[in-house]
């Protein structure tokens, strides 16, 4: 059903957005090329299952391959910082699409079709995505409160200070990249088996921007804010069909407006609202 279809999209988008939130939100390493890892996961899973591999094995395999490439790109984050890192990761995204376009075994510009159905039916597939999304939410909340989360936070705030505090900056950055990209790979594998067709345009720069937008609109580093933003933004173009002509414009204006008026995103808006409500309660 249509609603199930939308819910499925929401669930793997939440996983994808939270995966970037680990890197950019928690650890402060901006990435403009995250769609490449989503793509690596999708292509890995697609190749594996079209070749007769099991869907259940495809998921961890997609995570492993995406995480492996994430580990390599993580080294880049040890070399370059801030704006240089933003452009380097953007370059990784372009390199991914530029490479895939020329490779026959990846279907080139045409992509890979005929990805087999996981064979569990539409509703169970949605539930599977939902369970995995819930697990990723729980994992994010856990990491945020753990010692690792504090180390990430220290690196995001000020890398040099974190280093003087004795935090192994390199190790934590690499960890963030591996976790984040592996989860993006998982989201990609789920995406591939939902659309049953992957092509390189689905993982281009615009897609990287879209997922970054989910993290930023949600509130960088906030778990629940990002979940809400990802769920909303992923299906917004489908819900706004009535305003067909203006929805991309709306999207652009929304990105700008959030940065202009509420750089903390949904998270800071919710907090403000909460403070007002609880403030009134204590006053009254």
């Amino acid at each position: 059903m249509y609603e199930i279809s939308l819910l499925t999209v929401m669930c793997f988008s939440v996983i994808f957005a939270l995966s970037l939130n680990l890197i950019t939100g928690f650890c402060g390493q901006i990435s403009l090329g995250h769609a490449a890892f989503y793509g690596i996961g999708a292509y890995t899973a697609a190749l594996f299952t079209t070749d007769g591999g099991s869907f259940w094995l495809a998921l961890p395999l997609a995570m492993a391959v995406a995480g492996f490439f994430g580990f390599i790109v993580g080294f880049a984050s040890l070399r370059v910082r801030h704006d240089f890192l933003a452009i380097t990761t953007m370059g990784v995204g372009f390199l991914f699409t530029g490479f895939v376009r020329q490779q026959e075994f990846l279907g080139g510009e045409e992509g890979i079709a005929g990805i087999p159905d996981p064979g569990i039916g539409q509703i169970p597939y949605m539930l599977l995505c939902a369970v995995l999304a819930a697990a990723v939410i729980a994992f994010s909340l856990y990491v945020k409160r753990s010692w690792m989360g504090h180390a990430f936070d220290a690196i995001a705030t000020d890398e040099d200070t974190a280093r003087t505090l004795g935090i192994d900056v390199a190790r934590y950055k690499l960890t963030a990249f591996v976790f984040g990209t592996a989860l993006a790979g998982l989201a990609g594998a789920l995406f591939a088996h939902y659309v049953k067709f992957v092509e390189v345009e689905s993982f281009d720069f615009i897609e990287s921007i879209s997922v970054l937008a989910m993290v930023i609109v949600g509130g960088i580093g906030s778990v629940w804010g990002v979940v809400v933003a990802a769920a909303f933004l992923s299906v917004m173009p489908l819900l706004l069909q009535v305003f067909a002509d203006f929805k991309l414009l709306f999207y652009g204006v929304l990105l700008f407006a959030v940065m202009y008026f509420a750089p903390g995103g949904i998270d800071s808006l919710m907090r403000m609202l909460w403070r007002r409500i609880s403030g009134r309660r204590t006053a009254g």
Binding site: S5, L6, Y194, Q241, A244, D245
Partner: protein
């Protein structure tokens, strides 16, 4: 500004069709890019389709009911095409669907339509695998491989050119054209001097042009779309390459000539639309299209028109909105559309004769026709 007014009208139309769902109409689903990078083609195909809908409804509709197009914007992205197909089938309960979109979204939604056993007609998406989704999927556009074969006949036999350079646009369309061309070129004594590839985002062809100059071919067979082709042909002529340029449907639009200007003169294409046709349906389509969009008709618009006409004929023949009956009707139908007389083979591919058009005096004009039925037979599995 006409285009501005048009967008408002289009939005209004989309809004209306989305809300005004009544029982006295037959609903046809239509996915097309209206925003994003593919919006220009989306606008053309939707205009063509709406002209056809209006023509059918003005003549009293089908089986006593008016046709209604339910239009959703897929931004030419598979990730939107899948939920849109689901929505059209399950919520809007369309009798059948038409793809007014590119290959990628069409391939993704063809599977959804096939699984739900709802007929789906691709207007201009060209990937060969689309109709292989199953027996509910049809295509009114002609396959790249068939066009490529026809182009080889044109180059080798009609024009008598033997030393050919092929320039291949790196997507399904360009590759299929080149493969089709090469599969039969030996029959016409053609020899390929060299092949080049470019992406459909390329606009600067300086390096390729300098290289072609050294190859000194008799003809160039190009497989690109008009927006890539116009700068390409201009740069070829500016670079002093005089070989005749032979191309295909992707060039077929007034925009190509508007951009390439003088350089466009003498370009010859294999296509489905004859702009010098005396057929009143073609003439009406051309004037109506110009009136609605502010620019001259293109092949994409004509395919949208043809796809709706085929749908209308199938609905009429089926006599009901039973999806299996519509499928059976499609499989055996024969329709006189503006892109030729259309009928489907058992794979759902179309067989028709082709027109050769040439740029003369700043416009597309009749050159000849290709009717070799054996050459134009599409694959049936």
């Amino acid at each position: 500004m006409t285009s501005w007014k048009f967008s408002i009208a289009a939005v209004a139309a989309v809004a209306l069709t989305a809300s005004a769902a009544s029982a006295d109409t037959i609903k046809i689903g239509f996915n097309t890019p209206q925003t994003g990078f593919a919006a220009a083609d989306g606008k053309s195909v939707l205009t063509g389709a709406q002209i056809a809908i209006d023509t059918v409804n003005a003549a009293g509709g089908v089986n006593g009911k008016k046709l209604e197009l339910i239009v959703y914007d897929d931004q030419a992205k598979p990730k939107f095409a899948v939920p849109i197909a689901t929505k059209l089938i399950q919520q809007d309960k369309v009798a059948m669907g038409i793809s007014g979109s590119y290959s990628a979204p069409t391939r993704a939604s063809a599977g959804v339509y096939q699984n739900a056993k709802v007929p789906y007609v691709s207007a201009f998406a060209v990937h060969p695998d689309i109709t292989r989704a199953g027996n509910y999927v049809f295509r009114t556009g002609i396959l790249g491989s068939v066009l490529g074969k026809a182009a080889a006949k044109l180059v080798g036999e009609k024009l008598g050119k033997k030393r050919v350079v092929i320039t291949i646009m790196k997507n399904d369309y360009g590759k299929a054209l080149a493969a089709g061309f090469k599969s039969v070129m030996a029959n016409y004594g053609i020899q390929v001097v060299k092949e080049y590839q470019y992406s459909l985002r390329d606009r600067q062809f300086g390096p390729i042009v300098s290289s072609i100059k050294g190859d000194n071919p008799d003809a160039i067979f190009d497989t690109g779309y008009w927006f890539v082709a116009a700068p390409f042909v201009s740069q070829l002529r500016a670079g002093g390459v005089k070989a005749v340029v032979v191309a295909q449907e992707g060039y077929d639009g007034v925009k190509f000539i508007e951009i390439a200007k003088k350089a466009a003169e003498g370009v010859i294409i294999v296509t489905a639309l004859d702009r010098d046709s005396k057929d009143p349906a073609v003439r009406k389509f051309m004037t109506e299209f110009k009136k609605r969009t502010g620019y001259g008709a293109d092949m994409v618009g004509a395919s949208g028109h043809a796809a709706v006409m085929v749908a209308a004929a199938a609905l009429k023949k089926a006599g009901s909105t039973d999806r299996a009956a519509i499928r059976d009707a499609l499989a055996t139908i024969k329709v006189d559309a503006i892109t030729g007389t259309l009928s489907f083979n058992k794979l759902g591919e179309v067989q028709k004769s082709l027109k050769v058009q040439e740029v003369r005096g700043g416009g597309w004009h009749y050159h000849s026709e290709i009717t070799d039925a054996k050459l134009l037979t599409p694959p049936d599995k």
